[in-house]
Symmetry: C2
Subunit: 358 residues, 2 copies
């Protein structure tokens, strides 16, 4: 029986194990929110084990299980099928974890585990139509080439999706118009619009249709919303709404405190939700005492990109605490105080940006 997935620490300091993850994985430097499309190297990356050494020539995608015809597809064969390109915001389910008290021990994200890229590939639907899905199939299980141990369980990275959700996903072989970088899943990855990052399986090499729900580690042990270790919990699925502010002015190297000059300025940022478009972004420049509505760019139909927002600000000399709060069209909004869970998942409490005006 695997150990529970998230031991919570109430210590102040980040451990060397957490640091080792933070130095190899990386978030998005927040000034990169300025780009509509996030370049590789600025888009967040979380690799559970190692980036596998996959060569395109040796690689095949197998499609098996409850299908009428097993398929084995090369990259060239996938690239000959009709391609679609989608802008999709992607966020780690553990974003914000390191700000929780007590802190769940895992990759210690503060607020920056996000990116919005342009993904090109083949709709999974087209591949499944080619294989022929049996009527008894309920889920698709996706297997990556990355292999490791997590809480005592040796595994290939695997996640499943119920077939209705799987219908809307992409088998992506290009990011921003170029072959996938190694750390983003070369040569093929899943892109699941609206869902947290754990579902976007990288280095994808097998799709198996199953007649019962998948109970592998990443589905039934990790990535559950639990109040206590023994709680079976609810699965982590769609991205909760979030707004991020592009930190204004310029920073102090060590504290990342921002400095601005007095006078009218624009604050810019991005907002997104996995449930639908963002309807409202409210901004506070006085530590949450008062809020004003920002101007929010609409989200094009069929896009899963983040949305830009802006508001003017007239800072006076002294310290300021900036905060932004997003609400989507379904009324999901960001909490000012985050409810805690064992793994620190789906944490979308508001960002705080400390600014000195001088």
């Amino acid at each position: 029986m695997p150990r529970p997935p998230a031991a919570a620490g109430d210590v102040d300091g980040i451990t060397l194990d957490e640091l080792a993850l933070a130095t190899r994985n990386h978030g998005q430097p927040l000034e990169a929110l300025r780009y509509d499309v996030t370049p590789p190297g600025l888009h967040y990356v979380l690799v559970h084990y190692d980036i596998p050494d996959v060569r395109a020539d040796d690689w095949k995608l197998s499609v098996t299980g409850r299908v009428r015809t097993d398929l084995t597809l090369s990259l060239a064969q996938l690239q000959e099928m009709p391609a679609v390109t989608r802008h999709v915001v992607m966020e780690c389910a553990g974003n914000g974890r390191a700000r929780l008290v007590p802190r769940p021990i895992s990759q210690p994200w503060l607020v920056e585990a996000v990116g919005c890229a342009e993904w090109t590939g083949v709709p999974l639907r087209a591949v499944l139509e080619q294989a022929g899905v049996e009527s008894t199939a309920v889920e698709a299980v996706f297997t990556g080439a990355d292999h490791g141990i997590e809480r005592g369980v040796e595994q290939d990275y695997q996640r499943s999706l119920p077939l209705p959700v799987a219908d809307d996903v992409l088998l992506a072989y290009a990011m921003n118009g170029r072959p996938l970088p190694p750390q983003h899943g070369f040569p093929l990855r899943l892109v699941v619009p609206g869902w947290y990052g754990m579902s976007h399986v990288k280095w994808l090499c097998d799709i198996t249709l199953t007649g019962t729900p998948f109970t592998g580690y990443q589905q039934s042990v990790a990535y559950r919303l639990r109040d206590r270790p023994e709680d079976p919990g609810e699965p982590v699925t769609r991205i909760a709404p979030r707004a991020l502010i592009i930190p204004p002015g310029f920073p102090d190297f060590m504290t990342r405190t921002r400095f601005v000059r007095p006078g009218l300025t624009s604050l810019h940022g991005r907002a997104w939700s996995g449930h639908g478009p963002i309807a409202r972004v409210e901004v506070s420049t006085d530590h949450g005492h008062t809020w004003r509505d920002a101007e929010v760019a609409p989200r094009p139909a069929d896009s899963h990109a983040w949305q830009a927002w802006r508001i003017t600000w007239d800072p006076t000399p002294g310290p300021h605490l900036l905060t932004a709060r997003a609400t989507d069209v379904h009324g999901h909004t960001q909490p000012l105080q985050q409810p805690w869970n064992q793994g620190g998942f789906a944490n979308n409490s508001v960002q705080e940006v400390t600014v000195q005006c001088r």
Copy 2:
């Protein structure tokens, strides 16, 4: 008078300020040592302030000071000049800092702040010949477009090189055959073969030739080897030798401990020195009790790339501690116990990789 550049903490835990740097900057996942040329997103990045929002159309390089003719060059003008391409290993001067006790408080690198890319651009020499260097010039001061505060000093990022060193540097506008990514200095950066990363000024916009040595913050306050804060210290310059092992087998997610199966295996890695080619890599698989010589690939003439090395290993079940030690042709070698300095600079003590064979 600015505060000393590196307060040393003797606490165990990494602070949230250090973590905020670790989540935005990133090292090289060590399995990426397998690539001869490191892709962007895997090559280490350290950004002192923010990545500036530089557009190629608005950008110019000015060359001024002790020159006969001031120059203002566009990117297109630089790209019309004869180009050279060089493979250069680049390493942060603070690599390894977070393993020192007490730990200097800054970007908390463990061992992964390195990369080896292919840089294309114009030799600085060609631009200086066009401007005409006055005989009284002793240094070139390089100014980047990044702006921030460091220990109370508001500044554009600036570093200088003595003219004999400046003669061998590159004004690079391409990384691995593509325009520089934003985080690597778009549209132009300095590449100083053999020197630590602080000298490779990114987002380069001005070169000023001076008649006296530059005394700016990054030259005379930061990046000095000091035993105590009040010590003026020696400047950080060339990269000390280092060997890194590609961690064998597969990892545990949280501890990054490696797991291998019993039986003959190959250990691979890279080694480099800013003083010259690597002559020898010794490997220990028994916690430093015994050492064997690895097979080291030669470094091509005029290359500043890292060198590959390999050795066979026949692990038996149980725990093992792997370590590797590089020595360059001038006899510089890696210490087993690192001498400490205030900023944690030029730390090249040997890497340790914990492996469980089962």
